[in-house]
Amino acid sequence: MHTLKRFVQNNWVGYLFITPWLVGLIGLSAFPMGFSLYLAFTSYDLFSAPKWIGLGNFIEMFHDPKYTGSVGVTLHYVLIAVPLSLLFALAVALLLNKGIRGLRIYRAIYYVPSLFGGSVAVALLWRQLFGGEGLLNSLLHLLGIEGMNWIATPGTALYTLILLSTWQFGSAMVIFLAGLKQIPHDLYESARIDGAGTWKQFANITLPLLTPILFFNLVMQIIHAFQAFTPAFIVSGGTGGPLNSTLFYTLYLYQKGFAQFQMGYAAAMAWMLLCTIAVVTSLLFATSRTWVYYQE
């Protein structure tokens, strides 16, 4: 009894303060995760009771061309959009870090697309920019080039979305800039005294000291890109078209779960996504030991 009393005395305040979070963790994360894991092995339409079908959903996935297609589209998107964003973010951060005047204003302007990028309004704007009668075609027309409907063409639709994602490189750039500011100045000075040129300074000082930031940005952008939804949904009008060329993984998950009410299948898809993200991030963490440089 005595130890119990002491235990309560020592811990009640802490538990009082984490109670909202703990209730959320159990009620909105842990329990739902368990529940969706169960659903992944069932056939469930929200109206009749879930029916256990074992690995049925997972087997069906591999025979579902729309599923494999959506995996392809998403990988394609992640593999191009993430490196492009990081490249632009790093390049512009390096330019802005040259001690120029007006840094705050420039930084703000480059950040603005990230501020609005995820919104429906910008997705609608994109649909107009690259549509058949869109701004891009009007500009091309001025140059005497005949445009096309970039959104409605299977070969280009995904690239308009990649462009939309790259356009939002500002948030990664802000993080790079903050990282660049933390690199001590005297490192560059002693490098100059030793006769190191701009390129050598970049390769031997800036880049290694920036690898933790690069790593952080890489992980965050990848996780983010795997879950992209709004732009594809709005630009394609919810279909993932043309010819499923913008059928992102999460968009297909939405269609399966909330339009066709195949919730078991959608839950299985969600778990596949979770596993993929977990595997990709752990692989990144594993390789990080070889290329991320942590200062003591």
Binding site: M33, L115, I213
Partner: protein, 279 residues
């Protein structure tokens, strides 16, 4: 660091050219919202030949008798509730993780960090089923309640980092003066963490304002539509015929987020940076 004057100017020109490319689409949308719809596509220039407010008047009238005034009020209500929820739940949890001692604290902290990486699609289906059973679909509860239960671990982490950077002497002095942990939270931690709480509020504002997926799932009654859903519905009902009105409302929908950015840039930029640097 830049050597000659000429190269300095070249650098500025280069950076400004980049800026123009970056914001040209947004500026063009802004300008187009004042052009007659027939002009929007034929005219790529940023200076309209004639300025008209028709697009705004038409757009504001909204859909099936519900004006954009309602959509804006709905969004502000939603955003306000989410901010309050995040401030309460995240600051409480952060105080516990940052300053208090309790059983399993390390384990809970690790779990909290792990949930940062959890794609929310894994929980969204069972959550929908739960909220549907409770009869909460078509209310704001599914969108707001999670915030009161600290599901946005990013903000907990942000505030914990901030609390850890505060000098311990303050708490010790307060403790000697007989200040208990609950008073300590209210009278010392809340006032001292105001910058982190500002960042939390601002990001909650922007993210909730821009959110689409969860609104799409839960809200189907047009009178309860927030802006994002209204805009999407607007395109579906007008088709691609009335881009003018659509642009006008899109621009209006971006204004609040833009204002938040202009007035509180410092907190936002710092918030983005600290997450990465101290992590």
């Amino acid at each position: 660091m830049v050597k000659s004057k000429a190269s300095k100017y070249a650098l500025h020109v280069f950076i400004i050219a980049g800026c123009v490319i970056m914001i040209y689409p947004l500026l063009w949308m802004f300008v187009s919202s004042f052009k007659p719809t027939t002009d929007i596509f034929t005219n790529t220039s940023l200076i309209p030949q004639s300025v008209t407010w028709d697009n705004y008047r038409q757009g504001w009238a909204g859909l099936s008798g519900v004006t954009f005034g309602t959509f804006f009020l709905n969004t502000f209500l939603l955003v306000g509730l989410c901010i309050v929820g995040n401030l309460i739940s995240c600051s409480m949890a952060a105080y516990a993780f940052g300053r208090l001692r309790f059983f399993m604290k390390r384990a809970f902290f690790a779990i909290m960090l792990a949930t940062l990486m959890l794609p929310f699609h894994v929980t969204v289906i069972p959550q929908y089923i739960m909220f549907n059973t409770f009869g909460w679909v078509n209310t704001y509860l599914p969108l707001v309640l999670p915030k009161f239960l600290g599901t946005e671990a990013f903000f907990i982490f942000l505030i914990v980092q901030f609390i850890r950077s505060l000098p311990r002497e303050l708490d010790q002095a307060a403790e000697i003066d007989g200040c208990g942990p609950i008073k300590m939270y209210w009278y010392i931690m809340i006032p001292l963490t105001v910058p982190a709480l500002m960042t939390t509020s601002l990001f909650t504002f922007i993210w909730t304002w821009n959110d689409f997926f969860s609104q799409l799932l839960y809200i189907s009654n047009i009178e309860r539509f927030p802006i994002a859903l209204a805009l999407r519905m607007f395109t579906d009902s007008l088709g691609d015929n009335n881009w003018g009105a659509l642009f006008a409302m899109s621009i209006l929908s971006l204004v609040p987020v833009f204002c938040v950015f202009i007035f509180f840039q410092k907190y936002l930029i710092e918030g983005i940076s600290t997450g990465a640097l101290k992590g």
